[in-house]
Structures are given as structure tokens and as C-alpha cells.
């Protein structure tokens, strides 16, 4: 049910784009207005969310330690798993953000009769997630060629490296294929693995279907429909230079592609996709673990009712005496 709803939502978006551009020819709406609205929502939304998170204090230093602490000089500290300094904590975050360090630890548990636990290595989620995120980044970088004139050398380099297989004209890019494959894998995993299927919400399926649709329309545009790229560039440059162009000659499927991207942008700040910003703010990861070396301040600390020694001695005076324990007041 959750899957059907998510899939239906994405199909509805597709129909909307087809109806809007393919039938009603609302190119300004789909090619200019909606992208601007989406971008505004994206930028405004992301900034709002991050600023709101950052405004909430971190009262305690609570990082998860995943390696040996710094203590005695002859014991080797695990600097990346138990960072003691700001630099070490930064490097821990670099590993986390760029290499998905924590996912790399993943294991799979199985219980055999008699309560015997078997835990095997399980790197598939790590591999799939890493492939998806990195390829998505490369594809984004490649798309800069539509938005910048002249196209920077580095973008061209990425594009040509990406097409190293030299299959088809224009060349099939490796990252697009891996991206599509990784998304399919992440979707299948969600459908097939009992644990993940059980916890999944429509909000987990919807972005996957949306991203798959973006990649699929992109691949179709490049390799099947072979839309007029100069028209596409005209639209893209129009958006960047604030001189909107209708892009006569661009296939309606291009507008569907653009519409999906717009929806993704607008949806992003209000969804779990904000993990992109949140990962940087996670107090269990981004703090140096120098708990006993430097005092952490809680900005909203307040006095609490305690049981003072004086009250304690008052209550247990006779018993303290009997036990021969020295007292403050005899």
C-alpha cells in the first residue's frame, strides 16, 4: 500500500508534466516558474532547517566512542574513531560524510536454534549507498555544462572520463548507469529485506521512485529521444541568467525531467533527505571526545535540589557516630 501510493504519486507527477507540456504547452510554467519556485523552496527550506537545528543547544558532550580513548601515553589512541582534538573530530566527520564510515561496519545477524547468534559481514548497503551518492554528485557536476558558458574544463573532463566506455553516441556515461542500478538496488532492498520493508514509510519509497524517474527520463532524453541539446541549454542558461527562454525544440520529456527535479528540490527540505544537512550536526559524531580534559558548558544549566552533606549528617548523625565515622559537628 505504502509502495503503491508512492509509485502512484510519481506517476501522477509524470502525467501532470505530460499534460502540462505535451498537451497544453505550458512551457513557461514548467520550464521557468516551477523551477524558480522549487529552487526558492529548496534554498530557503534547507537554510531554515539547518539554522533551526543549529539554534538548538548541545547541552552535553555525548559522542559515541568507536575506538580507544586517549589516556596513557603508551596506549595507542584511535584518533579517527575516538577523536580527542577538533582536527581529529573533523577527520572523523570527513570519513563519515565522504566514505560512510559507520555503514561500513554493518553486519547481518542471524539466530540459529539454541540461541546461537551468527553475525556476518554485510557491506551491500554501504556499497549501494556510496555508489548512489557519489554517482549522483558526478551527474550533478556533469549537468553544470548546461548552466555555464563556456563549459569549464573540469566539467568537460568529468564528462569525458565518465564516458570512457565509449558505447553509443553520445557516449553512455558510467555514473548514470551505476546511479540507476544503485537506486534500483536500494529500492529492491527495501522491498525484499523483511526488516527494512517493515520499517519503511511512503516517505522512504517516494524519493526513490522520484530519483529513479529523474534518472530514467534523463537517460531517455540522452539516448532514446535525443532531444535538441541546444534548446535544453537555452532553457538552462535562461534560468541562470534570469532571462527565461522557452527552449523551442526541446522534447516534452525534457520538461518532465525538469519537473521531477523541481519536485525533488521542493520536497527536499521537508523530508528525510535533509539527512544531508543533519549529518553534520549530529552531536554523537561531530564533537571532539575530550570530555574529561575540557569542560563542556550547558547553556541552560539550572540549579537543582540536592541532598547536602549537612542534611545527610543531620539525618544519620547517630549512625555515623556508632560507625566511628568522623563528623563535621559532634
Amino acid at each position: 500500500m505504502k509502495i503503491v501510493i508512492s509509485l502512484a504519486a510519481v506517476l501522477a507527477l509524470f502525467l501532470l508534466a505530460w499534460l502540462g507540456v505535451g498537451v497544453l504547452d505550458l512551457k513557461t510554467l514548467f520550464g521557468t516558474v516551477l523551477p524558480y519556485v522549487a529552487l526558492a523552496l529548496f534554498v530557503g527550506g534547507v537554510v531554515y532547517r539547518v539554522v533551526r537545528w543549529a539554534a538548538v543547544p548541545v547541552p552535553f558532550r555525548i559522542p559515541t566512542t568507536c575506538g580507544q580513548q586517549r589516556s596513557l601515553p603508551w596506549i595507542k589512541q584511535s584518533r579517527l574513531e575516538n577523536p580527542h582534538t577538533g582536527l581529529e573530530a573533523f577527520l572523523r566527520m570527513v570519513l563519515e560524510v565522504l566514505c560512510f564510515r559507520s555503514l561500513l561496519r554493518n553486519t547481518k545477524a542471524e539466530v540459529r536454534p539454541g540461541g546461537r547468534l551468527i553475525q556476518g559481514s554485510s557491506k551491500w548497503l554501504w556499497a549501494g549507498a556510496l555508489a548512489f551518492h557519489w554517482c549522483f554528485l558526478v551527474v550533478l557536476v556533469r549537468h553544470l555544462r548546461f548552466f555555464i558558458e563556456p563549459v569549464p574544463g573540469c566539467v568537460q573532463l568529468v564528462a569525458s572520463l565518465d564516458g570512457f566506455l565509449q558505447v553509443g553516441v553520445p557516449a553512455m556515461t558510467v555514473t548514470s548507469l551505476v546511479l540507476f542500478g544503485a537506486l534500483l538496488f536500494l529500492l529492491l532492498r527495501r522491498l525484499v529485506t523483511a526488516q527494512v520493508r517493515y520499517i519503511s514509510l511512503p516517505a522512504d519509497y517516494f524519493p526513490l521512485f522520484l530519483l529513479l524517474s529523474i534518472v530514467a527520463t534523463g537517460l531517455l532524453l540522452r539516448h532514446v529521444v535525443r532531444t535538441d541539446l541546444s534548446a535544453v541549454k537555452e532553457v538552462a542558461m535562461g534560468l541562470v541568467t534570469f532571462s527565461p527562454a522557452t527552449g523551442e525544440g526541446a522534447h516534452w520529456l525534457f520538461y518532465a525531467h525538469l519537473f521531477f527535479v523541481s519536485v525533488l528540490l521542493a520536497y527536499f527540505p521537508f523530508s528525510k533527505l535533509m539527512h544531508m544537512g543533519g549529518v553534520f550536526l549530529s552531536p554523537t559524531r561531530n564533537l571532539a571526545i575530550n570530555n574529561r580534559a575540557a569542560r563542556h558548558i550547558n547553556p541552560w544549566d539550572y540549579p537543582v535540589k540536592v541532598h547536602t552533606y549537612e542534611e545527610y549528617e543531620e539525618e544519620f548523625r547517630e549512625k555515623l557516630k556508632t560507625a566511628g565515622v568522623p563528623l563535621e559537628k559532634e
Partner: protein, 543 residues
């Protein structure tokens, strides 16, 4: 097994049946599955007198099986306001509510899920119990789309579900190690329990110790004369085992070091032997130290109650150090106590600017890593002594012992104290074997009784939760003949004894400093024939 056994006794549970677990959830959506409040799986509620003594709201008589939990009339308002307040005070809570992608990496990392198969014990779903309310009440999408956006209505049944599952989490933080964003279920559970406390929904196994600790300084409610007797009794046993008479000073002003340990070490075997171990060690090296009757517990069940309760119970440690005029503080073998000391104490009750940077009077080592908090862990202290050759050790006195080491959750994942205890164990035992890699260090499994769940009322959950740890213990027992499990945590020593008795009866539980002292050659000792448990010592004890 015995048909007369009750749900709070391990004999009630058939080992074959309990060991059959499916980790493949399915069927109805979790939001439609009601809580199964069966005896043996939950803990009895806090008695009203304890709530009253500690000054917590809504003290009353009630029982989880009742339909009516006698919540305050405006309970819903209280919860929503409580959530709002915590979202604005803890970035962890706000961020963890927002960024989970339900990737499932944490799903099979929880010992309660692995041992029981209940999908709501998957850390991600435990968090969703709270997150679903957050979405419905605090996010626009949730308000409009409701269940479609993963939101659900806050009802009394939700409160019951929270009670059930937030007291089926030991705040061990294992899931947080595997989470790509470090989402820490302990943090979620702590918030959940704080919210429940606003309604007077809590468990007696935590609230009674909290009330005791506030009044007497320790969870067990040991009063000054009781502590004196206990320590004297330990000294008698030590004398019988070693021929050496040791002292255990109480509230002695001007001592160099205040020693604080979990009160479990005073009362519960085998923790008591560990306490004797400290006493022997301190005597042997001539440490100028004192115990305190007022700060007679480093453990802090306030951690399992609320941040405020934690601060209230923790305050006595610095206060006592100041009153006694000690230079620094030494802490015994405990798990959650060290979470509090390492991650909260300085912030809550510091600065400890009246103390000095801990420095070993025997080796001259300055413990720079504790220069602000001024408190060090006993294994840091002892490892340093051994490294500098300050202890005369005869590890062959532990030759009948084949030991493995259980990393306790909090020292592992809130400190990262892995090598110190291992160095000590290797120095005092000739036979040390590690459990499988995925079950030790930062990936260690909880004993199943942490965070205030170590009672008998929830015996089924404890045996289930202890299963992953026991499985690894059994592995080294079968592979290497391991017969002792060492743990530096008072709760471990109590609860793993039960877990081992049930799953791996051949293995028994010990503490690090019990083993240290059994290998320690003391000045003026008689020929050591028995250990601190007064059992035959050394190779001759081999069966």
C-alpha cells in the same frame, strides 16, 4: 523445565524455545499491533512513596496490566509540552527526530531484537514510536497527511507502548555505532523516559534506588554503620585469604584520593570480590585514600530517569571531594557510572577547580586526559602501576582461570576504554581469550540488564537480551575452554551471572580487580591457598 517456576524465575523459560528467534518481521503494520503486556516482559511500576520522596509528579498506585493508568487529566498537554521543551533544549533530540532515513543498519544490532525478534525492539522502530508522534504534532506534513506521512495520534495506548519499549532499551548505544548519522537510541529512550516521568509513569527498580541514593548516598540504601560493617567484613575475608589485614577508611579528611565505586560492589556477589580487590590493591601500594558514606555510590540511576535526576544524584561526588579536601577522585569498575562521570559530571556539577590533576603518587604519571574532571578510572590507574612495575604479580595464581573480557556498554561506547582493562587482564592471567570481533569493543553486546532493567520481574527480556552476549561467551567456552567472564561493571557482574547461568552455566562472572588481587603478591602475606572467594587457588584448583 519446572512447572512451578514463575515468570520472574529463569526456570520458567525453556531454553530451546527461547533460543528460537526469527528476525524476519512481517504481518500487520507496527502501528496496528498492540502491546503484549505479558508477565516476565515488563517491570513493576514505581511505588508512590519513592516518587513522593524524590519529588516527582503523580505518585499513585497502579499496574501496567490495568486499563486505567490514572494519568493526570491533562496528560496529553503535558507530553506535548514536554516534547516541545526537549526539542528546544537538546539538538540531539531535534536532529534525531528529523534525519533518520530508515536504512535499517541498526535493525539487527539491538540485543533485545536479536534475542526476542519483536520488531519494535529494532532501534529504528523504537525511535519511530516517538517520532510518529513528533511528525503528527510538530511537522506540517504530519499534521496534514497524518499516517501517510508516518504520523499517528497520541493516545493512552501510545503511552503504554512507550512504557513497554523504553524500558526494553538498555541505552547501550550499540545501534548508534552503526548508524550513518550517529542517531543514538539511548538519547531517544532517555527523552522517552523523561516524558513518561512527567506523567508519573516509571518503574520501581529505578525509582527505589534513586530515592535511596538521594537519601543515603547509594542505591541500595546502605547507611553509614552498614557500610562500615560491610567493609570490615570484607577485611576479615581478605585476612582469611591472604593473612594481611587491610584498612578501609571512611570519610577521612585530608586523604589524597576519594574513592568512589558503584554500591553494587558492597552487596552483590561477585562484585563484592572486586571491592575486596580494590582494598587489597590500595593497601599493598599504600594509597592515601578514603571511601565516603555520603558519596557512597558512583552509580547513578538518575541517568535512567532524567537529566535533572542524574544531576541531583551526581552532585554529592564533587561536594564530598571538596568537603574532605582530597586532591583527586578515583572511580571503581562500573559501567553507567562512568557514562555519567565521563560525559556529564563536569558539565553538570563542575568545575572541579578545587581539585588537582590526578597524578599517581607511585609512578608520577599525570593523567592529563582527566585534567578538567579530575577523576580517573581504576583500570587507568592500575594499568599505569603495572606498566611501571609497581605491583608484584604472580599470574600463575590465576592459572585455573581461562578468562574472556566483556566490554561494558558505557565504558566502551561513551569512553573508549578498551586497552587498559585488557592490559591488566593479560598481566594477571595467563589465559586470556577474546570473544568474536563483532561482539567486543565498540560492538560489544549489552548484558541485557543495563539502564535499570536488571531486575527479575522482566526475566524473559533479560534472558533474551543477554542471549547475544551469551552466544559469544559460549563460543569461546567451546573453542578455548573459557570458564570466566571478566567485566568492569557492577550491573554486568550481577546480571551476566544470571545470563551465563541460563545460557552457558560453565562460565562464571568476575571483575578485573578480583583477578588482580588473586595474582597480587602482597607484603607479609601467608601462603596463598584460597582466592578472595575463599576457594582453592591456582593450578591445583584445575578440575
Amino acid at each position: 523445565m519446572s512447572s512451578e517456576a514463575k515468570p520472574d524465575q529463569m526456570g520458567y523459560y525453556d531454553r530451546e524455545k527461547l533460543g528460537q528467534v526469527s528476525l524476519q518481521p512481517g504481518g500487520r503494520d507496527w502501528m496496528d499491533v498492540p502491546v503484549d503486556m505479558r508477565p516476565g516482559s515488563f517491570i513493576y511500576p514505581a511505588k508512590d512513596k519513592h516518587l513522593r520522596y524524590f519529588g516527582l509528579p503523580n505518585p499513585r498506585q497502579w499496574f501496567p496490566g490495568d486499563a486505567d493508568w490514572k494519568l493526570p487529566e491533562n496528560w496529553k498537554e503535558i507530553i506535548l509540552e514536554g516534547i516541545r521543551e526537549r526539542l528546544s533544549k537538546y539538538r540531539s533530540f531535534q536532529v534525531f527526530m528529523d534525519i533518520c532515513v530508515r536504512c535499517g543498519a541498526c535493525a539487527d544490532k539491538c540485543h533485545f531484537f536479536i534475542g526476542g525478534g519483536d520488531p519494535k525492539n529494532m532501534p529504528v522502530l523504537r525511535a519511530e514510536l516517538l517520532r510518529s508522534i513528533y511528525r503528527r504534532e510538530f511537522t506540517t506534513a504530519g499534521k496534514i497527511l497524518g499516517r501517510l506521512a508516518g504520523g499517528r495520534e497520541l493516545t493512552v495506548d501510545v503511552i503504554k507502548e512507550w512504557f513497554y519499549y523504553f524500558y526494553q532499551c538498555t541505552e547501550c548505544r550499540r545501534c548508534s555505532v552503526f548508524c550513518p548519522y550517529g542517531i543514538d537510541t539511548a538519547e531517544i529512550t532517555m527523552m522517552g523516559r523523561e516524558l513518561l516521568h512527567l506523567l508519573g509513569v516509571s518503574v520501581n527498580w529505578i525509582m527505589e534506588p534513586v530515592a535511596n541514593c538521594f537519601r543515603t548516598g547509594n542505591h541500595l540504601g546502605i547507611q553509614p554503620h552498614g557500610l562500615r560493617d560491610t567493609l570490615d567484613f570484607f577485611a576479615d575475608d581478605i585476612e582469611e585469604a591472604t593473612g594481611v589485614r587491610v584498612e578501609a577508611p571512611l570519610n577521612r579528611k585530608g586523604a589524597e584520593v576519594l574513592f568512589v565505586t558503584p554500591s553494587g560492589d558492597f552487596l552483590a556477589d561477585p562484585g563484592t570480590y572486586t571491592c575486596m580487590g580494590y582494598m587489597c590493591l590500595f593497601h599493598e601500594i599504600g594509597l592515601d585514600y578514603t571511601f565516603s558514606t555520603y558519596a557512597s555510590d558512583g552509580g547513578n540511576f538518575g541517568l535512567f530517569t532524567s537529566h535533572e535526576a542524574m544531576k541531583r544524584l551526581n552532585a554529592k561526588i564533587y561536594a564530598e571531594a571538596r568537603r574532605l579536601g582530597v586532591k583527586w577522585i578515583l572511580g571503581g569498575e562500573c559501567g553507567h557510572m562512568w557514562r555519567v562521570l565521563n560525559q556529564y559530571m563536569d558539565t553538570m556539577n563542575g568545575p572541579a577547580d578545587f581539585l588537582q590533576v590526578p597524578t599517581s603518587p607511585f609512578t608520577g604519571t599525570r593523567f592529563e586526559h582527566a585534567r578538567s574532571t579530575k577523576m580517573i578510572h581504576i583500570t587507568e590507574f592500575t594499568a599505569d602501576l603495572i606498566k611501571h612495575g609497581k605491583l608484584k604479580l604472580d599470574p600463575s595464581q590465576n592459572d585455573h582461570i581461562r578468562v574472556t573480557f566483556h566490554d561494558s556498554c558505557n565504558p566502551a561506547r561513551a569512553m573508549g576504554i578498551f586497552e587498559e582493562p585488557r592490559y591488566i587482564l593479560r598481566s594477571v592471567c595467563n589465559n586470556f581469550h577474546e570473544m568474536p570481533e563483532n561482539t567486543i569493543r565498540e560492538k560489544t553486546f549489552c548484558c541485557g540488564g543495563g539502564a535499570g532493567l536488571g531486575t527479575d520481574e522482566n526475566m524473559e527480556m533479560r534472558l533474551r537480551g543477554g542471549m547475544p552476549r551469551a552466544s559469544a561467551v559460549r563460543h569461546v567456552h567451546e573453542q578455548h575452554g573459557v570458564n570466566h567472564l571478566a567485566a568492569m561493571c557492577a550491573i554486568d557482574r550481577a546480571t551476566l551471572s544470571t545470563v551465563c547461568e541460563y545460557w552457558v552455566p560453565e562460565v562464571r562472572v568476575t571483575g578485573i580487580h578480583e583477578l588482580v588481587t588473586n595474582a597480587l603478591v602482597m607484603k607479609g602475606q601467608k601462603k596463598r591457598e584460597v582466592n578472595l572467594r575463599l576457594e582453592p587457588l591456582g593450578a591445583e584448583a584445575k578440575e
